[in-house]
Subunit: 250 residues, 6 copies
């Protein structure tokens, strides 16, 4: 690794700037020396992401963050810091550096720390999306359960009981599922990782931290998304109309 600085762009796909701060802090806490974390808030979309609808509306703004950065000052890696990994495949098409989602990152790391892991998340309505991602990435055998605390995303920071509810849910998930590790199912839980891990005595994986580690490793190896099959090559130039930003490429 050279003495140059590695820059990792961490994108908060919702529009809540406070959550971006929380995410940035979690990322910086684990970033290797000489790695800069650039944290960005999505300029358009929902204030929190708790449904398929929210994910769909968050994707264009999230992509505009990447295309803008690519035009001006490309990062060495992009992290999509929402547990539904919204827009991940699209982002891979437009970025020249690797792109990772935090659910993806957390699942990969958790699967190397024991036989099975459990996910503890916010609302039960998001379980389906998490289950889809588990299957899509290939972790059906390792993921033994997805559990909801029923705390909405934006209440995570304000609810004084978040820490204890989350700890109890994680402890119960370990026991019920016979798991060895816990994956936290929302970027907004990142600041509680150490507290919960200490309380339950088991590995607790926050996808933001996991993703920073993975991107730092990829940057050190000089890797980026492959384009040999054509799927992740730059999209063809065409007309995009009716959207608030110029999404045209090239």
């Amino acid at each position: 690794m050279t003495v140059e600085t590695t820059r990792i762009c961490v994108i908060n796909p919702n529009t809540a700037a406070a959550m971006t701060e929380l995410i940035a802090a979690a990322a910086r806490a684990v970033a290797p020396p000489r790695t800069e974390i650039v944290a960005v808030t999505n300029p358009m979309g929902p204030e929190s992401i708790e449904s398929h609808y929210d994910e769909a509306l968050a994707a264009p703004g999230l992509l505009s963050v990447i295309t803008e950065m690519e035009r001006t000052d490309p990062a060495d890696g992009y992290l999509i810091a929402c547990f539904g990994d919204p827009g991940l495949d699209a982002a891979r098409e437009v970025a020249t550096a690797p792109v990772i989602g935090i659910a993806e990152a957390a699942f990969h790391v958790a699967s190397m720390l024991g036989r099975g892991f459990s996910v503890v998340t916010t609302l039960s309505r998001t379980i389906g999306r998490a289950a889809d991602l588990v299957g899509h990435y290939g972790f059906s055998r390792q993921c033994r359960g997805i559990h909801a605390t029923e705390i909405p995303v934006l209440d995570l920071e304000t609810n004084p009981l978040t820490g204890s509810i989350l700890t109890d849910a994680c402890r119960e998930a370990l026991r019920t599922d016979g798991s060895d590790a816990i994956v936290l199912g929302c970027a907004g839980m990142a600041d509680l990782t150490a507290e919960v891990g200490h309380a339950i005595g088991a590995p607790v994986i926050d996808g933001v931290a996991a993703g920073v580690g993975l991107l730092a490793g990829m940057a050190a190896m000089g890797l980026r998304t492959g384009t040999a099959s054509g799927e992740f090559a730059t999209p063809r130039t065409k007309l995009y109309t009716g959207l608030p930003t110029n999404f045209g490429l090239g």
Copy 2:
């Protein structure tokens, strides 16, 4: 079934109005008596959908079509007429009637017409998305191959060789894959279904027609998307900012 008319809304997720006409014609050709086809063009997004990026940018406009229709004159079924089934889960959250994607529709019908089917599509860069959907819906065993003609979506209508290239690709796919049926991998191929089927002597399934049949059946049974698990319940009310349309619900 009563004498009332069933209304099926067929949405073209791209912004090309000519393609909407083609799709509407395919839908009307198979609609049962007393079934009205309402065809709508996406008001915002790409002029054709050939990448994950295009899909992500098409979803908000597509969803705005449904939420607008739900506010004014709800349909008895919604069909998303792009083979990547963009925005499908999100649409299910905001519609009070069933929602189907044309890839989904075509896979289901094809799987009941033989042991295996092959997909013949436009650009090879879209194969990955089609493969994801095959796996997601449970058709990994039945789908034996996905083949590209390398004809871009908007060239399908203008290229004088589309019919013969498509026919050759379908015939070859049947042979190579040992399949019994063909699924056409783009709504823009709908007008060629009969021609290709006649030429190759095997079932050729267009997802637009398949979807209309499925939605008509669901309407006759009085069925809509279930909300018992909460995943497809109406999304929670929240702030959506920076988008060209008011996406707020409720």
Copy 3:
């Protein structure tokens, strides 16, 4: 679609004529305009189908119904109205129109109405067969549970508690499995579909109605079982001995 009438043959694979009536009524209730339902009772086999043994003994008679109709007045679609889908692949070999089983039909429709569905059936000894079909058709992910009421098939109509037992079982299945929809696991439950659906407030799918919708759609598209791989081509001419009917083909 032309003004000609579409004829769908609904076959009751057991020998109980009363059940054929019930099935015919369920089929007619959802048939599109200008679609005729021809309901036929199996002339040889068991009076109800509740075991692998019963299924094996029902198949020849069921096939004789199809071969006889093909010789005289071929239908535009055949529906096998027993939840074990007995003889389905064999029927596809001898029919010139599409053939669907009601388990197959119900699974396909249910999988498009939510993330997961539960099956509620008659005797627990039939669960294994239902599970085999779920796996065979590719719905292992979507089907979250198969539950028995322990009501024998022929008691469904006579037991005054059938409606309430079934409703309770469906409600409990939704809750336990976290499902969004219910599939009824016996053609003899078809007349209770609306009652149960109304009571539990979730989509309840009867395979007879689902199958009629699917076959009507296939007929409108002019589709039939593909024979390109040879598997579903007409069986080779040969000698069949010791059976009560001439099963020879050609």
Copy 4:
């Protein structure tokens, strides 16, 4: 093991007595000392089994062989000697001894003799059924290919080239699939097992021999099909009409 004789009933599901002889010889060649092979020809059904239709018509007669033997002189094990394993689950319900199909037997043995095996069979139209069984029994990973020689079942004995065609197909299958073993896909190939195995220098598994070994082992352990879940318990007593034999139980 006691000095009593173990009796294994080998059933030829088709009506061709010459094939029963061939099967009986293959069974006797590998039967352990003090094991008697009782070979029986199906009294009703097709003269060869080469389609789903043939299988469906073979099942009742095959089951009548077992129920008759159970009434008079139950065997210690039953082997269904047709590669489609017709009527297997039904047979398990009515037999008090274990029942095995020859496809099942061959797949199990082959999977313990190398990483992958290939199946070489008669007509290509039977490949679908073999593939279904592979999936059903859990051998999707081990079975690497199913290949047809296009020799009809009844021509196996009369075609002077059967041996050389089969040998060539097996050798080619090993090479193409990267397999370690061959499964012969028809009971009528049993007499060629040694010849082919010698020629290609790899394990060649005939399901008849494999099944005899498995049943002898089960008999020595005193095992029979379990009925705890109820699925394989004796079917309920009921009326069976229109069939040439009394299929009533109890």
Copy 5:
């Protein structure tokens, strides 16, 4: 089968000679006439195998038993009598006769005796390895649960409650899992097979007995591990240093 004697080598992978006796007795109880059981204790490794670490340390000694026997007096089959099937693939490379593990043997036999089976084993820490083997061999569908009694391997013989604890656990497993058969998860339970089976009224499979039956069948057919793909060919000659035995081949 000729009048020659078949010799099956049953290897106890741990160093406890008393357990070898127990295993040998179970093997002899089911061996066909004219089949000799040669029971051997591992000369190096742990006194019992209850972890991945124990398995890794047991493998070299276990392999030395086979290579030594191959040099002097090759057996007609080798059975690895520890439920983790340690060293199985390696053993296949160095033996000229078939090699089977007892977990593998038990799973295969159990899967032919009902729809689903349950495993009842010693310590819960071994469940992961058993689950891996279930998946590896293809029995994910048939194996419905793996249950621990928490009795350490070497206590099985000395704990006066072993029989009743095991019986209770097996009965409960059948009920909870809806299984038809039980697989005993440790060679040290072999002497309790009949007692437990009698008590619960369901098939109970001991892998030692199951393995002897499978190897006897393979020997009768003259089969051995295939080497066509090269994977199970004799390992290349090379230097092995630092080990207590000469592991060099050839």
Copy 6:
């Protein structure tokens, strides 16, 4: 991250010291600042690992390296630098820091850099083990092919054509499999990663570098293998006999 140094122990499971140097260099090239690489050669076992037999004989020595280091100066992470990931689960039981295998590491990283990857390895006899690991870790969908160059491990460094043979094989694998990335299937290829990647214009992943990145990330997060299910807890104390080293724990 503190200013303390992170120590990662990279173990070469074979006894070839020259290969340890090569591996150490690859590890150091990507290690983050303030991360020390401790490279160790296995003191007992084969000089190269090219069979299941070699893997089994390599495991005890490999484990002795870890138990010795744990007794004296525990590392913050252990990397098993052989593509078969020998002894991985056992190592997790005895290490207090995370343990990763290089096949595992490479698969995880490759799966985030495109839709599919291909493995290019040494001898074809090792393909089976690689395929097992692919399935075990959950990458069956992403891994599209495993290809052998037929260069033995110890010839990689001496064969002047290794670079060009490997490059050609990687390029061909990309094309044949439609992959986006390449995984190198042997630690001995680590020094060729950049050369091959440059030549083929696609991401080439060496598991040694990938593993160092993953372990550095885990160390920054303070994570270690979870022991909640008991599977990866320290093995029970017991007697190990006949081995050249004292393998007793505690």
